[in-house]
Point group: C2
Amino acid sequence: MHAYDQVAIVGVGLLGGSIGLAAKTRRIARCVVGIGRDDAKLDAAVARGIIDEATTNLAAGVQEANLVVICTPVDMVTETATQVFTHAAPTCLVTDVGSTKLAIVEAVERQMGQKSAQFVGSHPLAGDHRTGAEHARADLFEGRTVVITPTKATAPDATGRVSNFWHAVGADVVRLTPEEHDAAVAITSHLPHMVASALAAATPRSVLALTATGWADTTRVAAGDALLWRQIFAANRTQVLAALDQFDHHLDALRKALLEEDCTQLERLLAEGKQIRDAVGN
Amino acid sequence: MHAYDQVAIVGVGLLGGSIGLAAKTRRIARCVVGIGRDDAKLDAAVARGIIDEATTNLAAGVQEANLVVICTPVDMVTETATQVFTHAAPTCLVTDVGSTKLAIVEAVERQMGQKSAQFVGSHPLAGDHRTGAEHARADLFEGRTVVITPTKATAPDATGRVSNFWHAVGADVVRLTPEEHDAAVAITSHLPHMVASALAAATPRSVLALTATGWADTTRVAAGDALLWRQIFAANRTQVLAALDQFDHHLDALRKALLEEDCTQLERLLAEGKQIRDAVGN
């Protein structure tokens, strides 16, 4: 017995594809419908068993769905949600995987009114610097955290069911307000990306041959798609700017200790960073 | 037939231990002597086949050596080299694995005079955030780059033989001046470490549960030993401060674009970082 008869996924990339694979592998959905813009890519996803059916027609794709997961870039989530609510059944649950939550949740609630009770914002803290359905994995969410951000406007039943869906694909679920979520990921995800990008850009090509694993690790996320990340930064602008200030504060302290040849302070600051890094492991 | 009868390694940690293992596995040395301060650790390294013999007496350990590799923290390389040159045969080659080169090479040449013709500074761009001989691997140097920094004071024959040694353990060898080396690694290694440390320190413990692979990658090197890194930063202070300025320039440009909501510029800067990161791969 499947928990859902039909799950529709809008945007069959790394995350959407992995949700499809996980929903099929774990028998969460009888049928997974993939909705996209590129017929060739959708056909390839069907051929690889990532989705059962595919369509470029969103209205048709969501019509019979019990759950729609919006996996478009953050800039398109709100517009897509509006279309989904227009064409889906009133009982259909809608969620997304956007990396920012406040702008999306506010816009959906403003535009959809009562209907938005069926919408629960989600953000799986899973992914890869590689994109595309060809890298989709059924186990992408196993042991990872998915933040869900229901509000007062959300139906409690919808919250519970979306939470169960993420549990079913293997994730741990954490519930935060959209504001709490955005402030946290500004520090844990958006700030590292911006710092990694600046670090990569600050490296002259002439010394790239002298980079080793340290540089490769520290800059890895800078390989992410520039357009997608520009949209994420823009959608969480205030929190990212605050996180940058926080980072500056710590980097300036290190610089000052080095400038003043204050070895005790320099070692103390490095030990502070190490302690926090060690708390996470790997 | 081994290239060396005896290779002595001062400091049997991750690098020293891996050099020992590689020299034994690849039959570069008939006998590898490990010199350290801790009898128990040295005995463990002998038991694990990382070194053939062990001693806490540096004078005795280097007496018969044809090549001494100094693998102490950067702060102790010069003093150790002085002791090695005092007790080793005049034909004995001496090299090190310090992450900075100018301070070490200048000090050795100043203190050792003519004898320093047998000294060739080295820096293997290999390692791990884990330390200790227990993580030593015979293949640590395979496909990695080792920078050597001979000067006018170095005997050409010594340069050639040290270069051959690193080739023999599997590394590619790049020759730079000590100044060129220090400027390059300030950008490729020391700057990433300082940035990663600030990033880790800027992350409140309350949001650590919301970190994912991006944060883990970007901050990984911050787990390095605080004392060792304080010494590296101090030994390459001017170049690290210059690298920090370079980084600031790029981070400020990103911040300005975000602050001014200049999406075109923000995306352009992110694309610039991505392009450089993509040039390295993995």
